[in-house]
Symmetry: C2
Subunit: 79 residues, 2 copies
């Protein structure tokens, strides 16, 4: 089954990528941008068909590889 | 209002980042991974409070900066 994982920097952690995008959009004439945060989205296609088991497997992947849990938070969602 | 933009490589476009993650997870002992695609998620905080207008603004940002529409597709969603 398909699992979607969102990995974002935690609130309070400086996000230079988001700041760069915000600055670039500002110079292009876009107005009213109060903030931008950029993160990763990872779409997993797993053989496991049980939703709970697949989500548990994805969470383990996040803890071990996909997210740096010191500065990033993740969200696992079955599609 | 908050807008969420997902930018993914189009189907058929080689995703070396996703392939690297898939390989790494394989070497770590995770089994049953049939495919991984990695993309970007951008959370915009816009001053515009009208949903339709904010989404239209986000779409314009995607066309002009956030996505390379030759190889990437994007999805705009109001939160």
């Amino acid at each position: 089954m398909k699992i979607r994982v969102d990995v974002m920097l935690k609130t309070g952690v400086l996000d230079p990528q988001g700041a760069a995008v915000q600055h670039a959009l500002g110079t292009m004439g876009f107005e009213g941008i109060q903030g931008i945060r950029q993160g990763k989205v990872i779409e997993l296609d797993l053989a496991e068909n049980d939703k709970a088991k697949a989500c548990a497997q994805a969470k383990e992947m996040c803890e071990k590889l996909l997210a740096n849990t010191v500065i990033e938070s993740y969200k696992v969602e079955a599609l």
